[in-house]
Symmetry: C2
Subunit: 201 residues, 2 copies
């Protein structure tokens, strides 16, 4: 008789519920900020009751950790549709990765973790691993004209830092066009020191 280890109708439903909840959390983080992303609002926006939310994520810390997990899974480097040159690649990093709602949500969590010791302890290991993974991916994608691998990591990290800082500037002047101008200027400075690595099939 069908000993089907079928994924389970309920498991799928549960997974879908968790996805909806995390998506709602991201949305609220972007539009309302961390402290106003309350469990009540998340439940309401996701279309569940408070009890359902509590069932899937027993505490707010659990909810945020799960949401962060989803946010960190976003690829910094596009896995298909490889860009033609370094300039295009870095420009895409800005428009597709940094200057996007999901990244703003990520920054909200990072900022909250700065002063919330428990949250910080909960996610710090994951963040460190994330940083290491980003560095490794940088080396897979780029090479430095100087031949120094460490320089690749530095330049990519510096680029991300710059873009992060630029994203924050939106809060006090600096419209979208001006920010894009700055990004291009940065790329013009840094791109000549980098080259795209040949990707293995």
């Amino acid at each position: 008789m069908a000993l089907t280890v079928v994924p389970g109708k309920q498991q799928a439903k549960s997974q879908r519920a968790r996805d909806l909840i995390c998506d709602a959390t991201i949305d609220l983080l972007v539009t309302q900020g961390y402290s106003d992303t309350s469990l009540n609002r998340v439940a309401a926006m996701a279309g569940f009751s408070k009890g359902a939310l509590q069932h899937h994520y027993p505490s707010k810390e659990d909810l945020i950790a799960a949401t962060l997990n989803k946010l960190l899974a976003r690829p910094f480097f596009p896995q298909r549709g490889k860009p033609e040159c370094v300039e295009d690649a870095l420009l895409q990093a800005w428009s597709k990765y940094i200057n996007a709602p999901a990244y703003r949500a990520l920054l909200e969590i990072l900022n909250a973790a700065r002063t919330d010791a428990l949250l910080h302890a909960r996610i710090s290991a994951e963040l460190l691993e994330w940083g290491r993974a980003l560095d490794a991916q940088s080396l897979e994608q780029y090479a430095a004209l100087s031949g120094d691998d460490e320089e690749v990591v530095m330049l990519l990290n510096m680029t991300r830092s710059f873009m992060r800082g630029l994203l924050i500037q939106e809060r006090y002047g600096g419209d979208e066009i001006k920010r894009l101008k700055y990004v291009k200027k940065w790329i013009a400075l840094v791109a000549p020191m980098l080259a795209l690595r040949e990707l293995p099939e």
Copy 2:
């Protein structure tokens, strides 16, 4: 008889109270974050009752606006003890201005204003003026080797963006030494394009 328009004993006391309150606010913003910088805690840390705080700053918005005012008054360029070269000047901008508690407090307010419409409306004009003043000061202090004044403003703004983003990186790896290394790398990139302007007596 002495028509002395003496400052007034009470006025001085009042001013001192406001200073203490704003200092406590800055301290709490740095150590606890914006949402945990409650009026109760501010009053307690400043050594006043809640009623006293309420007297000096009728609403939290007023308190934050006043504190922001104090934070924006910090000089980005050192007014005395002029640095010898562009490299030193930019390095000082990092160590004395950006990588300092007061700047973290400023970022907390900016971040809060992103989602708090009322606070944003209250401080946006002041922030715009601040940005303009920074640009003007940049032109007073620096000249571009290319002769293009706009480039001076851009490079200084890019430097501030980069340092801002670098400050945030502290939350997920990147110790103090590594951040300083990044700052120096950036300065090495950008300083050759700038020159200190001769300051009039």
